[in-house]
């Protein structure tokens, strides 16, 4: 879904003569531009409904999340108190220091950052490239290739792990970063998402660029991607989260905290036969989640920025 540049008050931009600065907007136009994307514009009634809905959403989401955080600050006895204690009593922030010290948190965190970072860059690049090729190039079998991409999402990872383990181990990649990263780097979801989006872009933009003589790759970076910003950001976000939480494959591939990411380090906190103290386990969960939330906050601003960059209106 995208903005077209056909506006009412301004001459259509001539392909090839555009410069890259966004057109100057009058203050009134700016105001209209920002208020444009309201799905419901029902005035006060709509706003009330909106706030009510938000309250419901907050309750639904906030309460379990609050519970997780609050449990991470409780002592073992307090966690199971009956009735439930809504506030920790006593307050136990030492759960966090316990986790950080007990679990060599810094090492696992570093590994997670490396693995997730590399995987995200690789997957987003491959996804965009593949989608771009599948959307705008004409060659025999392109629909088939796309079906193959989707079909790969149907393969459960339980059955791929042993086979991949055999292959990757035979390359000598056990307990290495590349052993963990390479098999996870194939992109199906992102390809699907971006191709879906690319196909929805209006044809005239592409053909205008073609006419103008913009190179194939230049078109990608100068024309297509800027129009795809929100979706691209969503893609990046989902990828980051998925790879951050990977467990099974990194577990099989890694041996020590030299390469193992956070989800594996945290299993240490659970006890097999005795009583697990859930406080530190929840603390570990919170510590693992917070970086992702920060990433979300940063990226979702980009999503909006991407919108206003393309929302040129007369």
């Amino acid at each position: 879904m995208t903005m077209t540049n056909d506006a009412q008050a301004v001459l259509p931009p001539v392909p090839g003569l555009e410069d890259d600065d966004p057109p100057q907007l009058t203050p009134a136009q700016k105001k209209r531009a920002t208020s444009r994307h309201l799905a419901f514009q029902g005035g006060t009634a709509g706003k009330l409904l909106g706030y009510f809905g938000m309250l419901a959403a907050v309750l639904l989401f906030f309460v379990p999340l609050y519970f997780i955080v609050v449990t991470s600050l409780k002592t073992h006895g307090d966690i199971y108190s009956n009735p439930i204690s809504w506030l920790p009593n006593p307050f136990a922030p030492e759960n966090y220091s316990y986790v950080i010290n007990e679990v060599r948190f810094d090492k696992y965190l570093r590994n997670s950052v490396i693995i997730t970072g590399i995987l995200t860059v690789v997957e987003v690049s491959l996804g965009v490239m593949t989608a771009y090729g599948l959307s705008f190039l004409r060659f025999p079998g392109r629909n088939l290739l796309f079906l193959l991409v989707i079909a790969s999402l149907m393969v459960p990872n339980q059955i791929t792990v042993i086979s991949n383990y055999a292959l990757v181990a035979s390359w000598g990649w056990r307990n290495t970063f590349q052993g963990i990263i390479v098999p996870l780097a194939a992109v199906a979801f992102g390809t699907f998402l971006m191709r879906n989006h690319f196909l929805s872009l209006p044809k005239e933009i592409m053909e205008a660029a073609e006419l103008d003589g913009t190179g194939f790759f230049r078109t990608l970076f100068r024309v297509v991607l800027p129009m795809s910003w929100p979706t691209l950001v969503a893609f990046t976000l989902i990828t980051v989260v998925n790879e951050w939480n990977q467990y099974l494959w990194p577990f099989l591939m890694s041996d020590t905290d030299a390469v193992a990411p956070l989800p594996i380090g945290l299993t240490q906190l659970q006890d097999n036969e005795g009583l697990t103290n859930w406080g530190p386990v929840m603390a570990g969960t919170v510590l693992t989640t917070v970086p992702m939330l920060i990433v979300f906050l940063i990226l979702q601003k980009q999503m909006i920025k991407g919108l206003t960059a393309g929302a040129v209106k007369g």
Partner: protein, 314 residues
Amino acid sequence: MTAVTTPAIPGLETTTSDEPTKRSRSLNWRHIGLAAILIVPNMILLGLFTYRPLIDNFRISFYNWNISSPDMRFVGLGNYIEWFTDDTSWQIARNTLIFTLVAVIGSMALGLALALLLDQHLRARNMVRTMVFAPYVISGAAIGVAFQFVFDPGYGLVQDVLGRLGLDTPAFYQHSGWALFMITTTYVWKNLGYTFVIYLAALQGRRSDLDEAAEIDGTPAWRKFWRVTLPQLKGTTFFLSVTVLLNSFQVFDIIQVMTEGGPFGTGTSTLIYQVYQETFVNNRAGYGAAVATIMFLIVLVVTLVQVKLQDKQD
């Protein structure tokens, strides 16, 4: 660039079509070459790490193979026959169906509602957006663990709230129906962030000129949503229906942590859980491979049907 058709004038384009232009019955070698560069790396990764194990898995499904053993015994279609004649298979299939249906419909409808809600300019929407997305960020295993504090009939949140209202708490862990409810609710709660983010990106990227036109026309909010916004989300809805379906077939962590597929052995087992159980607990890798193949075929058929339906609509 070879432009044979007359250049399209922005704003005057009337049709968008996906068909290759009539001229190219001959191979466009430039395109094929570009396609090779763009698409082949990803396809190699997919082929190596997803398709190769899939084919392997298919081969294994014709054997009786104790996963630790060096020996395999050919049984032909024996594993498949066994699955179709086993009583538990039908309960597992039923669980999978219910879980998937509710997960797909639930997370899409609620995700869309939330995206619409939080697309508007309401105060604190950034914070609420983060809260909605947060569950998606937390790993399935951690959520499964955390939600015992929600659902446990002894010390959970639900029993606390219901108790205050004077109601009895269902035995979530010990009653098949309630256990399935628990798993499904937990998963939908966790997955809403995904549908929310994708819908939000789509909403943010939609055509504001159409919105404006509707405003100018004075279209009421509901009608505007139905006639203007929703059709633009068709592509996204299709995308989500496919990916959420595929995702929900693969849900494993939540089930394993909360119920281990129980109660009563198969109360909340889905096809993917059965694959794990048979392969790694019952040590029957051949049978597990057969179940995985059956699951893959089911998902493939369902997805093809979805694609066909989407095509019909276009």
